[in-house]
């Protein structure tokens, strides 16, 4: 006979696999959630589904052969990663870069940053259920991709930078089309504001959701807009200006609460600042050679190492290259911002709802292949 007062074993907590195939994990992220009802007890991000061994590839090929790989890690800001890699190797080998090439790279990097933020904006609002802003953002992004495509022949994976310059000079229309695009984008911001920023449902879904405190951000090495949303004005373009960033007048937008809404504001404001940088750079764009033709071939940098940090669209990325004096780097390590940005979520997601988890995952703007690389 069963004991009259035996308590039934009730299991409240069950686990749910969010991903790797899920409409809003954007890529192959898998988050193992332990749920109590719809509340998250524990969130465990599992990465590595997109591992392609980019770092090892970097150690097995000549410096310039690694250039195509660099735009395939963070495929949404490929130009910025190209740019960073070129800068790292130039620093390692001591290569001079003509002024025009520097301007070209920088304009394109900022355009790439805007395109990345636009894509984030669209997909984020789509994660929250608003499908229409997504297509508006993609319409604008398409213009950027056209501009970038016309010069480098590629929409996402540019491989446009070369050590000591760029692959090709700008096409004759570049300056005009870019100016027209910036003007057009400026006119679109009020649309976005009316459609999304002021939308009460959007604000309810994001305000005080997924708060990353400054302490937490430091612990997990969160960088980029996610860090700036907590109120820390850390932007590699300002704190350690590389290329020509110290020549331009731009601000580093910051938030106060560190929630998803602040991350949204920061990214939207960053697009405005990137527009400012692009306009200034277009005004100053000098004539001259677009490439240093005296770069030795094959390129064998002297023995030594370099750690070069730059600001990608998602935060601080960096290349660490060790040269043993041969054609290939002895060690090639890449620091990617998404790694820290993802793993802080183990703490942030605890105690939130599944619906919030989607909102938070979207708000930190992850690119999973960058983490897996």
């Amino acid at each position: 006979m069963a004991e009259p007062f035996a308590q039934p074993i009730v299991q409240h907590i069950y686990s749910l696999n969010l991903g790797p195939q899920h409409p809003s994990t954007h890529g192959v992220l898998r988050v193992l959630l332990d749920l109590d009802g719809e509340f998250i007890v524990k969130a465990d991000p599992i990465v590595g589904y997109g591992h392609r061994g980019h770092e090892k590839m970097g150690e097995n090929r000549a410096y310039k052969q690694f250039m195509p790989n660099t735009s395939r890690m963070d495929y949404l800001s490929g130009m910025i990663y190209n740019h960073g890699f070129a800068l790292a190797v130039e620093k390692l080998a001591g290569i001079e870069v003509p002024l025009r090439a520097q301007y070209i790279r920088e304009i394109r990097s900022e355009l790439n940053r805007i395109s990345s933020h636009l894509l984030w904006f669209g997909t984020y609002v789509m994660d929250l259920g608003g499908f229409t802003p997504f297509l508006y953002a993609f319409d604008d992004r398409e213009n950027i991709l056209d501009i970038l495509d016309r010069v480098s022949g590629s929409r996402l994976t540019y491989s446009y930078c070369r050590f000591g310059g760029v692959n090709r000079d700008l096409d004759p229309n570049f300056v005009d089309t870019t100016r027209a695009f910036v003007a057009r984008l400026r006119s679109r911001f009020p649309d976005y504001e009316n459609m999304v920023t002021k939308n009460i449902i959007f604000i309810n879904r994001t305000r005080d959701v997924g708060v990353i405190t400054p302490e937490l951000a430091r612990q997990y090495a969160v960088t980029g807009p996610n860090l700036r949303a907590c109120g820390i004005a850390f932007d590699t373009r300002k704190t350690e200006p590389y290329e020509l960033y110290d020549r331009f007048d731009f601000e580093v937008p910051t938030g106060t609460r560190g929630d998803a809404l602040d991350r949204y504001y920061v990214r939207m404001e960053e697009m405005v600042q990137s527009c400012r940088i692009i306009e200034q750079a277009l005004d100053q764009l000098p004539d001259g050679p677009y490439r240093n033709t005296k770069v030795p071939f094959p390129l064998t940098p002297p023995k030594g190492e370099v750690y070069f940090a730059f600001e990608s669209a998602r935060g601080q990325a960096a290349y660490y290259l060790v040269s043993d004096g041969s054609e290939c780097p002895y060690r090639c390590h890449i620091r990617v911002p998404s790694f820290g940005n993802l793993h802080v979520l183990t703490e942030v997601l605890r105690g939130t709802l599944v619906a919030d988890a989607i909102s938070i995952l979207g708000s930190v703007d992850l690119v999973i292949p960058e983490i897996d690389r």
Binding site: G129, V196, N199, N204, V354
Partner: protein
């Protein structure tokens, strides 16, 4: 023979055939309309290849759905899983029986028409719960749970809003309710109830911004995650037919049914006015869907329990007081 044609049964059978044909065609048309509306809102043009303006696109999609394999997950509760899509479509059909398309175009002019239509639309929840539970999938179950909570919450203000109108007419007969709006539509006398009805109706049909049960970015496809082929198609058709029904009910309760605005019919037959107003309401619901993001579940419930029900109750009491003392 004359007996047969005039008999109630004959009327019912003919009515059902017409309803079946109409509801299917209407759903196909609405899917096409939704895609067109969404397209134009989103700087696209929507389907355009199959047939003129792409109008045959949904028919082709339907044929594709019919041709697909009906997958039943191994761990599913087979009987319930198979019956749920049928259950979801059945109450929708019943709703058509009492809708007043025109002065003489009511299949069954019942005295309890309003009650019948709301009672049967509440039945949909059962089907959704059955489908979500039977699939034995966590996403589907979560979607089903959400759906039940949401529908129960929004049914109350929905009924209270409809009750205000019923109080004014002193009848639950759709024909009489529409007749009472010959000159002034009830939306002008009962603006609060009308608004509450529209909001709750959107929630009842699980349309954005209340599409929590099938929130695709969270729950993949919600309660119908595991359904494929025409079983999925039935859920899909039921959603659009449901949308037609709530809009048609709104038209008859608040927007004067078959009457033209302010008693001017402008020479158009009643059924044209009725359908015109219904499709305009459907367009509004679509417009809302493609404009707003989705609410969070707890916010949605708070909105229902803390705002809508209070408002609807206050409106009902005010209506009763005015009717009693004025």
């Amino acid at each position: 023979m004359g007996d047969l044609v005039g008999s109630e049964w004959f009327r019912l059978v003919i009515g059902l055939v017409i309803v079946l044909a109409f509801s299917q065609l209407n759903a196909l048309f609405l899917v096409w309309l939704e895609r067109k509306v969404a397209g134009h809102i989103q700087l696209r043009i929507g389907p355009k290849e199959v047939g003129p303006f792409g109008i045959l696109q949904t028919i082709v999609d339907g044929i594709k759905l019919v041709g697909k394999e009906l997958i039943t997950p191994l761990s599913a509760d087979r009987k319930l899983f198979v019956i749920a899509p049928v259950l979801v479509f059945m109450p929708v059909l019943v709703g058509f029986l009492v809708l007043p398309f025109g002065p003489d175009l009511i299949i069954r002019d019942m005295n309890l028409g309003v009650l019948l239509i709301f009672a049967f639309s509440a039945f949909t929840v059962l089907a959704i719960l059955a489908g979500g539970w039977a699939a034995n999938n966590k996403y589907a179950l979560l979607g089903a749970i959400r759906s039940v909570a949401q529908n129960v919450a929004y049914e109350i203000p929905l009924l209270l809003a409809a009750l205000s109108v019923v109080l004014m007419v002193q009848s639950m007969n759709f024909g009489q309710i529409v007749q009472a709006q010959g000159k002034i539509w009830f939306i002008f006398l009962q603006p609060v109830a009308g608004l509450i009805y529209l909001i709750c109706a959107t929630a009842e049909t699980n349309r954005a911004p209340f599409d929590i049960p099938e929130a695709e970015s969270e729950l993949v496809a919600g309660f119908h995650t595991e359904y494929s082929g025409m079983r999925f198609g039935l859920f899909f058709l039921a959603e659009y037919t449901n949308m037609f029904i709530v809009s048609a009910v709104a038209t008859s309760l608040f927007f004067g049914g078959w009457h033209g605005p302010f008693g001017f019919a402008l020479g158009l037959p009643g059924v044209v006015w009725f359908l015109l107003k219904t499709y305009i309401l459907i367009f509004v619901i679509m417009w809302v869907r493609w404009t707003f993001p989705r609410l969070r579940f707890d916010q949605l419930m708070n909105f229902a329990w803390k705002v809508m029900i209070q408002l609807a109750l206050a409106n009902l009491i005010a209506t009763a007081a005015v009717l009693k003392f004025v």
